[in-house]
């Protein structure tokens, strides 16, 4: 990366590093509808340097469009809205390429489906004809292209992610734990520990024994006294902790023993596999995943990991070491030991990856060292989930129709109301106004097939009133808020880092609260 680019992107490289930036710059994002919220999403992606973007919208700029949109003005009136928007947005960052497509969505949907394959992510904003929305969602679901549907209505905003599956390796999990292998040190670590005779050290050196060594030595002592058993239960671990403390010459003065005591519980917990890994192992062997040439690389790695574990009975060592009180020399030695073991495991893991690639009809040339390295480093923090193609499900409908609805349900009311608000406009060619409450109620019942015998909950009707009274699709604070939220999610998907939404988010700008739901 050039020096200028490093400087320009410095504040974000601290979040996702060069690897994330490279993925971002290789991404092409497609916006359906040149709305105010759509413009804000693109702005927030163009500034950090997304590779390319395409705006699909066949309409001409009207006065209505200019209001609430910072990137359209009076000079654009009457021109193609997608071209006008792309022109203004392109000024934001010369690194980014932007394109406009002034073709009707339904026509594109009638055309070749390959058109959509060049996009890594698609964002649909606000109003799309119901049948087009369904057709587009079906098409992209099959092609495994993630889609965000974002909508703004008055003081409300909703966002949904449609993705068959989401797998993240670099989750940046904030739970900073480290796999230290206290229970089962490998030979080199054991030898290093044995080489330290801690009883003969002077006080200064004793206060600088790294806590990894303290824990290994305390565990040896414990095993001798407890018939070779490892303290796994909570109460035993607490007892072990007291043993660690008792080995200090003066606990007040020896920070390293304090650190060792503090690290006890976590370090001993690492005897078990993280539950997620067992789930992944089950899934990779199930019918859900077909190990063929189309399988996402994530599952190749999971399969390889399973074989690794079967062979070596342990996970590859991530190799990271937390800072700890120590002499510089001992710490650097430990860093080296952990680093070498990690590299060694990575090599062995790579061999398994090659086996799996071959067995599943993929080429050995697909081996990517960086991504293997990253997978091994993050083995305790992997994330995997399956999404939904549905806009809602029956349990959500029953939840909103429950007679005793408490406030906690209000964001679901908002979600259904906003969905209905856009369908209403699609069917009746205009958004509801304050005189349309009864019409809106009837439309809602019809849309979600609700029997007329059952009354709509009070809380739901209140949300109807709010949306109808404050009917606007481009109140800028909500456009900008949802633009920010959506662009964060797209950045996470594009950099393949951090964990994205799973899968529905609702913002209530009246009360400044939000909630998420899984469909």
């Amino acid at each position: 990366m050039s020096f200028d680019k490093k400087l320009k992107y410095d504040r974000q490289l601290r979040l996702w590093a060069n690897t994330g930036q490279t993925s971002l710059e290789g991404s092409h994002i497609c916006l359906v509808n040149a709305t105010a919220v759509g413009s804000e999403i693109l702005k927030n992606l163009i500034l950090p340097g997304i590779g390319e973007y395409t705006i699909i919208d066949d309409k001409r700029v009207t006065e209505e469009d200019i209001f609430g949109n910072f990137f359209l003005d009076e000079d654009d009136l009457g021109n193609s809205i997608s071209s006008s928007l792309a022109k203004q947005l392109n000024e934001l960052n010369t690194d980014v390429k932007g394109y406009a497509v002034s073709t009707e969505l339904s026509e594109l949907l009638r055309g070749p489906a390959e058109f959509w394959d060049k996009f890594n992510t698609i964002v649909i904003t606000n109003q799309v004809a119901s049948h087009d929305l369904d057709a587009l969602l079906d098409l992209l679901w099959e092609r495994r292209i993630p889609v965000f549907l974002v909508r703004t209505a008055g003081f409300y905003g909703t966002l949904q992610l449609f993705a068959k599956e989401v797998n993240v390796v670099e989750t940046h999990d904030p739970a900073m734990f480290h796999d230290l292998r206290i229970i089962n040190p490998w030979n080199e670590l054991q030898e290093y520990s044995d080489s330290m005779d801690i009883d003969t050290l002077d006080d200064e050196m004793h206060a600088h024994i790294p806590y990894v060594i303290i824990l290994i030595k305390t565990l040896e002592k414990w095993k001798k006294e407890n018939g070779g058993k490892i303290p796994l239960e909570y109460s035993k671990r607490s007892e072990f902790k007291r043993l660690v403390e008792s080995m200090s010459r003066n606990l007040e003065m020896e920070d390293n023993f304090k650190e060792a005591a503090k690290a006890t519980h976590r370090a001993l917990q690492f005897s078990q596999f993280p539950p997620l890994i067992n789930d992944l192992f089950q899934k990779v062997d199930s019918q859900e995943i077909s190990m063929d040439s189309n399988v996402p690389i994530f599952w190749i790695y999971v399969k390889a990991l399973k074989q690794f574990v079967e062979k070596y009975n342990e996970l590859p060592l991530p190799g990271s070491l937390p800072d700890m009180t120590s002499t510089s020399f001992a710490y650097v030695t430990l860093t080296k030991l952990y680093g070498e073991k990690a590299r060694d495991d990575e090599r062995k893991f790579k061999d398994e990856v090659i086996h799996v690639l071959k067995a599943s009809g993929n080429s050995e040339a697909d081996v990517n060292h960086n991504s293997i390295h990253s997978f091994c480093k993050n083995i305790h923090f992997l994330y995997a989930t399956t999404g939904s193609r549905k806009l809602y499900n029956n349990s959500m409908i029953s939840a909103i129709m429950k007679e005793s609805n408490s406030l906690e349900c209000s964001t679901l009311f908002i979600y259904f109301t906003v969905m209905c608000y856009f369908s209403f406009a699609d069917s009746l060619q205009s958004f509801p106004n304050p005189g349309d409450l009864e019409k809106f109620k009837a439309f809602f019942r019809n849309m979600f097939s609700l029997p007329s015998s059952k009354p709509l909950p009070e809380g739901l009707i209140k949300i109807f009133k709010e949306v109808i009274a404050h009917s606007s699709q481009s109140y800028h604070n909500i456009s900008s808020f949802m633009g920010g939220v959506t662009s964060q999610e797209i950045l996470k998907v594009s950099t393949a880092q951090y964990t994205p939404l799973d899968n529905l988010y609702v913002f209530d700008g009246v009360h400044s609260i939000s909630e998420k739901w899984k469909i």
């Binding site: 490093k6 609430g68 709010e466 606007s472 800028h476 909500i478 900008s480 939000s514």
Partner: protein, 423 residues
């Protein structure tokens, strides 16, 4: 009956003001004409023209605010361009407030929009300047500036709540941020929540001096120990490339000596400048939330945030909205002194070091007095000299048990009352 008085009101927020919604707290009194008038005439001060400030200015201009002032003492740098979208590479070096105001005005031609820019520090303006505003929105990255404006706005309120100006405050870091509405003397203030700020990571001096292990330790050694030794009296300026190069090379040499990997120029800069990661998306979220509150407050169209919303986007999306309680012993908005227990055998210097380090006090350059005598004053020089001798005296000699000590700092319009219990 409501009628649109002129065609300047654009339709993106028209219905939000002209129709009263079911959550409005004053449904019977709500008058759309009045709401429009207040919106067009409200004077808003935006503090900070950085990542948040650019967004705030845009949001206000597009939601009907007409009288905006913006204040910022910074000039544009290259590393601002990844998020501060009102600036282009040709603007580098120019005052942020000026360029931002020009850009938004140019974009909003025909909208009768007035944006006045102030290229100075907030501390340079008198109280009378702040009194003219109806709302203050802060998009700052400095704790000190926030404390200053917070204390100033609290001091403007009298016992009948005359002079109350809401302070709407936004802050971001990476994928996270928070927005809050402070009604001075009514809700908790910025100072009330000082203990929520995560302190800057610091490393023990003995680690830096004797047993470095991390690349950060090497940079700290270069900046905290080597720089003052090699260049006594000279201030380190991370924006000067020869200073930064020296720092990097010195840290790098130490790292090689101790066989430590990972000292890079970016890391060096990150450590010496305490750089906070920032992206446009998060600024957009937080600025929009702040401006939504300003809009609801000015138009009375819907209830305002009471009083704190946190947003976190690094693990799925999570927000937390709650009412942060006022602290009765807040040095700014409270009326009770804060109790502090210390050994009477300490001398005044120990005591000063202690309160400097205390997280919920965070007064960097304190001056101290009791009701009857000056204990230690930093300025003027004659007074400093006169009170300096107290630094070595025992607290038990200087204070009665439970005596109140007033702590002030020339940099902050705050005086903190401490009730000192001697042990």
């Amino acid at each position: 009956m409501f009628s649109i008085q002129n065609n300047q009101h654009d339709s993106s927020y028209l219905s939000l003001v002209s129709n009263v919604g079911p959550f409005n707290e004053f449904i019977d009194e709500y008058d759309p004409n009045e709401a429009f008038n207040t919106l067009s005439n409200a004077r808003v001060l935006v503090i900070g023209a950085g990542g948040l400030g650019c967004e705030i200015l845009k949001d206000l201009a597009l939601t009907g605010f007409k009288k905006i002032d913006i204040i910022d003492a910074d000039t544009i740098e290259v590393s601002n361009l990844n998020r501060q979208f009102l600036f282009r590479s040709g603007d580098v070096g120019r005052p942020k407030a000026e360029v931002a105001a020009e850009f938004v005005k140019r974009k909003s031609m025909g909208k009768n929009l007035s944006i006045v820019s102030h290229y100075c520090r907030i501390q340079d303006k008198p109280q009378s300047f702040y009194k003219q505003f109806d709302v203050v929105i802060c998009g700052l990255d400095s704790v000190e500036a926030r404390r200053w404006i917070n204390a100033t706005l609290v001091s403007l309120v009298d016992s009948n709540l005359n002079g109350l100006i809401p302070m709407i405050d936004g802050g971001t870091e990476g994928f996270r941020g928070q927005s809050r509405v402070i009604l001075p003397t009514v809700t908790s203030c910025y100072e009330c929540t000082l203990d929520m700020i995560t302190p800057k990571t610091t490393y023990p001096v003995c680690t830096i001096a004797n047993t470095p292990r991390l690349p950060e330790h090497c940079v700290e050694w270069a900046s905290v120990l080597e720089w003052p030794r090699r260049f006594p009296g000279k201030k380190f300026d991370p924006d000067l490339s020869e200073h930064l190069d020296w720092m990097y090379e010195t840290a790098h040499r130490r790292a090689i000596h101790f066989k430590i990997d990972g000292v890079t120029k970016e890391l060096t800069l990150g450590v010496v400048k305490n750089i906070i990661p920032a992206i446009a998306s998060t600024n957009a979220i937080i600025a929009a939330s702040c401006c939504n509150e300003a809009f609801k407050y000015v138009t009375s169209s819907n209830p305002i945030l009471n009083n704190y919303m946190m947003y976190s986007g690094d693990y799925s999306i999570f927000t937390y909205t709650y009412s942060h309680a006022r602290k009765p012993n807040c040095p700014v908005c409270g009326n009770h002194p804060k109790t502090i227990k210390v050994p009477g055998s300490w001398d005044l210097r120990d005591f000063i070091e202690h309160i400097k380090e205390k997280h919920d006090i965070s007064i960097g350059t304190p001056s101290l007095a009791t009701a009857t005598k000056q204990l230690y004053f930093r300025s003027p020089p004659s007074l400093e000299e006169f009170t300096r001798k107290n630094l070595g005296r025992k607290l038990s000699e200087l204070l009665d048990d439970n005596e109140e000590v007033i702590v002030s700092d020339p940099k902050l319009p705050i005086s903190l009352r401490l009730l000192v219990k001697l042990e």
